[in-house]
């Protein structure tokens, strides 16, 4: 049985980590991009970003004052036992959000969309979002927090099967160019693409692809992995870099997730996880062991299953 107090503390701790410590995979990705960057201004911007990560770590202050929309992803093992159940879990995740907002401090960004009422704690109607997934044969619960910023850099479009890969590439370029100018998307970004599903699933998959897969991770389907690589190269050869200055640093990595969709359509979403790509994860076992990571490990073979029954692959 996992004590509910332990979940609250862990959920609070990862909010602090996410706001202050840039994940290693993203920082390494930026260093790599900087090596290849020939545009002087874009190079200078990357340098300032790297210095900023150091400043945040050393001073224990948030890397970006816009602490985005803090939220949670929960992956529950089928054998996990949570004290008080999921109602208790949701309560402590809201508590942890309010506490972290005061202590880090995070900016109280969450307001009512019409009245603009602010509870000053990043908690409100449907906030923070808590998304769930499940894992077979597991006696733990995993919690990931993501603080995604950015009013810019995300778009959705209904394409059709006849539009094919050309359509995907075009829409990708449209989003990169329109939000890349002046660096509105705070690139270089991890670009997540949702393909297929119903419209809402398409948005969710793209968002999760951007925020819950680390730089360097590839889709297990070789065809999709090849498209990820192609789009990444394409984004980096627009001629635009950090802040929209002449250069090549647009896409640190590109991740695609797919869902079976209507036979007549091919919906596509694009999401940019900005230069403050803030995420942190924790796994808590039934016996109280606890492990911290920066890789959410959200997409497992189980979440991408394509069959009625679920069977662990015995061997490939």
């Amino acid at each position: 049985m996992i004590a509910i107090g332990q979940i609250e503390k862990a959920a609070y701790d990862i909010m602090l980590k996410a706001a202050i410590d840039i994940p290693e995979d993203y920082e390494d990705g930026i260093r790599g991009m900087q090596k290849g960057e020939k545009g002087d201004l874009s190079y200078f911007v990357l340098e300032a970003m790297l210095e900023n990560y150091d400043a945040a770590r050393e001073d224990r202050r948030p890397m970006c004052a816009d602490s985005g929309l803090p939220r949670y992803y929960v992956k529950a093992g089928n054998e996990a036992l949570i004290e008080g159940g999921f109602i208790a879990l949701e309560k402590v995740l809201r508590q942890a959000t309010a506490r972290a907002t005061q202590d880090v401090p995070l900016r109280p960004n969450r307001v009512h969309p019409i009245s603009r009422q602010d509870n000053n704690n990043n908690v409100g109607i449907n906030a923070p979002e808590i998304d769930y997934s499940f894992e077979p044969d597991a006696d733990w619960v995993e919690i990931t927090t993501v603080h995604k910023g950015g009013l810019f850099g995300t778009d959705y479009r209904m394409l059709f099967p006849g539009d094919g890969i050309d359509g995907i590439k075009r829409f990708f370029l449209d989003v990169m160019i329109s939000f890349g100018k002046r660096g509105l998307a705070c690139q270089p970004a991890i670009v997540g693409i949702g393909l297929g599903g119903s419209k809402d699933t398409c948005m969710v998959l793209g968002k999760q692809a951007a925020c819950l897969r680390i730089v360097g991770n590839k889709n297990p389907d070789p065809e999709i992995a090849a498209l990820e690589e192609e789009l990444k190269q394409m984004g980096n050869s627009i001629g635009m870099g950090a802040m929209g200055f002449v250069g090549s640093s647009m896409v640190v990595d590109c991740h695609i997730e797919v869902g079976y969709t209507h036979t007549g359509g091919m919906p596509m979403s694009v999401h940019s996880f900005c230069l403050s790509s803030r995420r942190a994860s924790v796994r808590i076992y039934n016996d109280g062991r606890i492990e911290h990571r920066t890789d959410p490990n959200w997409f497992t073979p189980y979440t991408r299953r394509n069959t009625v029954e679920w069977q662990e692959m015995v061997s490939a």
């Binding site: 900087q34 002087d40 201004l41 190079y43 200078f44 911007v45 990357l46 340098e47 300032a48 970003m49 210095e51 900023n52 990560y53 400043a55 945040a56 001073d59 202050r61 948030p62 890397m63 970006c64 004052a65 816009d66 005061q102 880090v104 401090p105 995070l106 109280p108 602010d118 000053n120 910023g149 009013l151 479009r157 394409l159 059709f160 006849g162 539009d163 050309d166 359509g167 590439k169 075009r170 370029l173 160019i177 329109s178 100018k181 002046r182 660096g183 509105l184 705070c186 050869s237 627009i238 001629g239 635009m240 950090a242 802040m243 929209g244 200055f245 002449v246 900005c274 230069l275 403050s276």
Partner: protein, 226 residues
């Protein structure tokens, strides 16, 4: 700073920034500031321009730099303020308030995210003898936070809230910032866009257009959204 930092022209200026200093600024120069800067966004503009509130007495003699931002700040129990990080917010949204703001305050520099359009430089900034500095990378809030030495004052905190109040910040070696526009209205972003736009059509060569079009204000890749 390692890398190409030394290839970038860098200056350190004290606020209020003098006429001579403003005149000598070239786009693409890296700037660090010492002195006072004030924050302002939607509600400050409304307060000053629409509601007719006066700027605090004597403030604009000591400061001619406005910052489009809301700090990640907290107010401690003993009335002290602490600022963790500051990040600029996109400036294009405030264009309509700026003519009044420049006229009423004598402000000469705007710091923000993303700059303004060429039209706004020509019609608003050049006549007001004002220039625009952009923050670098935008998300570099921790670096900028380090440059804030003290919160000298917060105006209208109760009416406008933490994020929208007018913060008067004492800064030291505050930056890096980049000169985005100069007194003639030349713009670093516009200059870069021009160069990038030349190659854009080629990227789309050979890619079929989608079967269903969309209504929209522009489909010209050379245009900007702001």
């Amino acid at each position: 700073m390692a890398g190409n930092g030394e290839r970038m022209k860098t200056v350190r200026l004290s606020v209020p920034i003098s006429d001579e200093d403003l005149k000598s600024l070239e786009i693409g120069t890296v700037v660090y500031l010492d002195g006072l800067i004030i924050t302002g966004r939607e509600k400050v503009y409304k307060h000053i321009l629409d509601d007719g509130e006066d700027m605090p007495e004597g403030l604009m003699q000591r400061c001619n730099v406005g910052f489009h931002c809301s700090p990640a700040a907290s107010v401690d129990g003993d009335g002290k303020y602490s600022v963790g990080a500051v990040t600029a917010t996109a400036s294009f949204r405030f264009a309509k308030s700026l003519p009044g703001w420049f006229a009423k305050t004598g402000c000469r520099v705007i710091i923000g995210k993303g700059g303004m359009s060429q039209k706004h430089y020509d019609e608003i900034f050049v006549p007001a003898k004002a220039v625009y500095f952009t923050t670098v990378g935008y998300g570099t809030g921790a670096l900028l936070g380090r440059g804030i030495k003290e919160v000298e004052n917060v105006h209208w905190l109760d009416e406008l809230g933490i994020a929208q109040a007018m913060w008067v910040l004492r800064v030291e070696n505050f930056g890096p910032l980049l000169v985005e526009s100069d007194l003639q209205g030349n713009s670093l972003f516009e200059q870069n866009n021009k160069e990038i736009n030349e190659k854009i059509e080629k990227l789309y060569e050979g890619l079929r257009a989608p079967s269903l079009s969309r209504y929209g204000e522009t489909d010209n890749k050379r245009d900007e959204l702001i």
